[in-house]
């Protein structure tokens, strides 16, 4: 469904510096599955989501190499018109902050049918309304008819988040890109939303790219997890493998940084240090500076992703 091949992107910094934000990414999302991407802020995960549908402003790009395919259509060299046909129709987007992603002056129905009219001009108002209601229902909205005339500020946080999901679902796309859609909401609501999304993946045979910094969330929704750090993939594999048998030191550290809810009380273990800036031009492993088992070799040359098990890949000299 989605295929990213040797993709690298170099952005322009504020003072003209070149910032390699993503380096040599290879990923694939199969039909009807969910790939979770885990990474801290600054790891390049949002840039990845945006470059799939060409949302990075041309003016801020220094150089792009590699290919991105959606349903075997290449988006990396597509024109703006071609991209507009893909955006919203073949690829739905769920953004993190529903309050800023929605227009405060538009009613719920208008927010969602705008997507329909952007792609099809000959839809009758009645049909549009039916499709909006259908999308809201699929997003787990109870009694959507009652809220069609509400403005975003009149909806609760959970309703807004569901409306965002409905916007992504309304054109029945084959691929959904969700960028931290459940961050900073209550656990119960998070679970409901994840359940709704999972249902769509299974029932509608939808593919999904789910981005989050929280491995706990990724575990509950994705079939596969890829770990992104400083623009490089450090590990990828089936969710169970990554959670129960993490191989890269960074993945292990990420897991022990998660707050746990078990009887034994132990503070989550912080990862010492900070993410290197993308313009540091490291020649070695990007995680070497914070890694507990780094050796000289790690600082000098960069490890490639290598296969260590059934579709389990890791980029580390020590594995």
């Amino acid at each position: 469904m989605l295929k990213i091949e040797n993709y690298s992107i170099v952005l322009k910094g504020s003072d003209g510096r070149s910032l390699p934000v993503l380096e040599n990414i290879n990923l694939e999302v199969a039909d009807g599955t969910c790939l979770g991407i885990a990474g801290e802020s600054g790891s390049g995960k949002s840039v990845m989501a945006m470059s799939i549908v060409g949302l990075i402003p041309k003016a801020s790009i220094n150089n792009i190499s590699g290919h991105i395919f959606i349903d075997s259509k290449e988006t990396t060299n597509a024109t703006e018109d071609e991209l507009n046909k893909i955006r919203g129709k073949e690829v739905g987007f769920v953004f993190q902050e529903p309050m800023t992603a929605m227009n405060p002056l538009m009613k719920l129905q208008e927010q969602i049918d705008e997507v329909i009219y952007a792609h099809e001009s000959n839809v009758t108002p009645k049909e549009a309304k039916a499709r909006v209601i259908d999308a809201l229902t699929r997003a787990g909205f109870k009694e959507p008819e009652k809220f069609l005339d509400s403005y975003p500020h009149q909806l609760s946080g959970g309703m807004r988040q569901r409306a965002m999901i409905a916007m992504a679902l309304v054109m029945k796309p084959n691929l959904i890109i969700a960028d931290e859609p459940t961050t900073a909401i209550d656990a119960e609501l998070q679970i409901q939303l994840l359940r709704e999304l999972r249902k769509q993946i299974v029932e509608q045979h939808l593919s999904m790219l789910f981005i989050s910094h929280d491995l706990g969330v990724l575990r509950s929704i994705s079939d596969e997890i890829a770990i992104l750090y400083c623009g490089n993939l450090l590990e990828k594999g089936p969710t169970k493998e990554i959670i129960n048998n993490p191989q890269h030191p960074y993945t292990c550290d990420l897991i022990s940084a998660l707050p746990r809810l078990v009887q034994e009380r132990k503070l989550p273990q912080p990862i010492i240090g900070t993410l290197p800036s993308p313009d540091e031009k490291l020649s070695g492993c990007v995680y070497a500076d914070r890694c507990k088992i780094a050796t000289n070799n790690c600082y000098n040359s960069r490890p490639e992703l290598k296969k260590i098990g059934d579709s389990h890949f890791v980029a580390c000299w020590h594995k």
Partner: protein, 311 residues
């Protein structure tokens, strides 16, 4: 004095009037009905001991932020009392109020909007000292209270008060305590990452040497690895300074890890109060169980993932 109660809150109530349309208000005034209102806090009583971290759990809308805001004097309580070290918080006025809040400071959720982007770190740290009119005393090496008088208030207005009276090394030591490099002093907030900004916020709260810190979702906006760093810092400060803390969050796992005792709020009422060690085993209220279940399946593996027929 291990068990000394540092903060005592009793029967706190706060409701907000909900009137969406101006016509509703006019109608109400004519008919002299009581306004329709939502009870954000309903008869909330609790206490915090010295050196204790009290966790307050609840989902959004449960009144946990209202509680912090009422204690900090941002909202006025409808009813109830709160005493910090024996001093009335809610009824305090002017200079009295200033003295109370010197001992009680707040850490905010959003490290981006809670720091003024036009102020340097030095100015951010000096601001509370300026408001509380504290000067550095060479002999004791600590901050002392300058008796507020007309002259000082005049100086305060002209912004010259204190800037010369607090040496840089005092501020640098404060930065070191929260794990920031001392040369951050002349930088602006935009030059720091989210975690570092949160440390600046903590440093600002600690510079007055308060006895109680209110942390409202202090780690919710941070990445997990940074979140763990900040939690570690808060624990360290608690041990070193004997600080008491009210730690408010919607994240059950985080609250349980850091708190000694936990209160669960639901629709503005305390439905459960128990030691953190017993949260997983002894919680009785229906709502607590619901909250725990959700958090457990999110944190410790999920049951709902395999809706498909594969498994």
């Amino acid at each position: 004095m291990e068990d000394e109660e540092i903060l005592k809150v009793s029967h706190l109530c706060k409701s907000f009037v909900v009137e969406k349309k101006i016509s509703d208000k006019i109608k109400r005034l004519i008919t002299k009905q009581n306004p329709e209102s939502i009870k954000a806090l309903n008869d909330v009583s609790f206490s915090v001991k010295r050196g204790e971290i009290l966790g307050i759990l609840g989902e959004s809308g449960s009144g946990k932020s209202t509680l912090a805001r009422v204690l900090m004097g941002i909202h006025k309580a409808d009813f109830g009392e709160a005493y910090l070290l024996g001093r009335d918080i809610l009824g305090a006025k002017d200079l009295e109020k200033l003295a109370v809040y010197r001992d009680m400071q707040m850490i905010f959720q959003d490290p981006f909007s809670s720091l003024d982007p036009r102020m340097t770190v030095k100015q951010i740290l000096l601001e509370p000292l300026k408001i509380h009119q504290l000067v550095y005393d060479d002999k004791t090496g600590s901050l002392v209270h300058q008796e507020p008088n007309i002259e000082n208030i005049f100086k305060l207005k002209n912004n010259i008060f204190l800037n010369k009276n607090v040496p840089d090394f005092f501020l640098k030591d404060a930065l070191k305590e929260v794990g920031l490099s001392p040369d951050s002093l002349n930088k602006y907030p935009s030059e720091f990452s989210g975690g570092q900004r949160q440390r600046i916020g903590i440093c600002r709260a600690l510079i007055l040497n308060p006895k109680l810190i209110i942390a409202d979702e202090a780690v919710s906006a941070l990445d997990v690895s940074v979140q763990a760093q900040i939690l570690e810092l808060l624990m360290e400060l608690k041990k070193k300074r004997g600080l008491s803390m009210i730690f408010i969050s919607h994240d059950v796992a985080v609250v349980r890890q850091i708190s000694d005792r936990i209160i669960l709020l639901y629709h503005g009422e305390i439905v459960e109060e128990l030691p953190a060690d017993k949260l997983l085993t002894d919680a009785k209220h229906e709502y607590s169980k619901k909250l725990l279940n959700a958090a457990l399946s999110l944190r410790e593996g999920c049951d709902f993932k395999f809706i498909d027929t594969k498994v």
